[in-house]
């Protein structure tokens, strides 16, 4: 499976994402610069964390206007898996691919530590390798991870099982401890914690591997059936 790691000016988790795919999962990965206009060669799209455009205006707001985002939207419409982590999640909400928005953490601090997450929905192409209600430990590193949406949107997220990960503790103010959500079609996931930083026990944990393995498993199965 071939992944595109989208690189914006100010992305800084692109190398970790590439490493996770290439070295830990043994799949193909390529960096794709933000002004590219073609993603047709890739099976999965990864939007890494960082501070694209210095978080100017609002986090993710300027990256959302990049040429590559038109292609990311096309890929999402075509049903390809699209994963946005941290700043990638912020970009996906600004682009309108996911509902809601990420606000400043309620304590106004940049927070960087490993947190406990609950897998709320294992029936997605991103989480089929986890068990329902499984608790996993994944690092976070953000100043603006406080997920906000209005009541109507929240009810919709709940009714459609779009809440994929929740935090075990409320440390940033996120609505109902939301850490990650998918779109209605189920192929676009945004999450603040960094699964690409949890792919080896040598560096503190491998609970993030399940997420990437889920994507790959789903892709393999659908492509073998169609072959």
């Amino acid at each position: 499976m071939k992944f595109a790691v989208i690189v914006f000016p100010g992305s800084n988790c692109d190398l970790d994402m590439y490493h996770a795919i290439k070295d830990e999962l043994g799949e193909e990965a390529e960096y794709v610069w933000h002004d590219s206009t073609d993603l047709s060669n890739y099976d999965g799209i990864l939007l890494p964390g960082g501070f694209s455009y210095g978080d100017y205006l609002r986090c993710g707001a300027i990256a959302q206007t990049s040429a590559i985002m038109t292609e990311v939207k096309k890929a999402a419409e075509a049903g390809k898996p699209v994963l946005g982590v941290c700043n990638g999640f912020q970009i996906l909400t600004e682009a309108g691919l996911l509902p809601g928005v990420l606000l400043r953490n309620k304590n106004l601090k940049f927070m960087c530590h490993t947190v406990g997450l609950k897998v709320e929905n294992t029936n997605t192409l991103f989480t089929n390798q986890y068990t329902a209600g499984q608790e996993i430990r994944i690092p976070i590193a953000h100043g603006e991870g406080n997920y906000y949406c209005d009541d109507e949107t929240y009810e919709k997220l709940k009714a459609n099982d779009q809440i994929v990960f929740t935090y075990e503790d409320d440390f940033n103010g996120s609505r109902n401890n939301i850490a990650g959500i998918i779109n209605e079609q189920g192929n676009v996931l945004g999450m603040m914690p960094h699964p690409e930083r949890a792919v080896s026990d040598l560096i503190g944990g491998s609970d993030g591997l399940g997420l990437f393995r889920s994507i790959i498993k789903q892709w393999r199965e659908s492509h073998v059936t169609h072959a």
Binding site: L57, R58, Q64, T65, G100, L103, N105, K106, Y148
Partner: protein, 84 residues
């Protein structure tokens, strides 16, 4: 040439932790009368005269980039300006 002044504020339903922190400081300084602080943004745009109506143009730009209407409200004023 038009000078456009845009005021962006957080919607009332959205908590403003920065505003709360500033209010806490004001209270500590003795300004107990302050009951609420909300922090927003101010943008100034110089827009050349063209075919498109400036009012419509500013609304479009606010929706597409300058504000996020999920959490923010905006209002703006348009003034005549002399190009430098």
């Amino acid at each position: 040439m038009k000078k456009v002044k845009i005021y962006v504020t957080l919607r009332e339903s959205v908590l403003d932790p920065q505003g709360s922190a500033v209010m806490g400081s004001l209270h500590k300084m003795g300004y107990g009368q302050v009951e609420d602080v909300r922090i927003g943004k101010y943008l100034e745009l110089m827009i050349a005269d063209g075919e498109k109506d400036v009012d419509a143009l500013v609304n479009e730009m606010c929706h597409r980039l300058l504000t996020n209407t999920v959490i923010e409200d905006y209002r703006f004023e348009i003034e005549e300006a002399v190009s430098q």
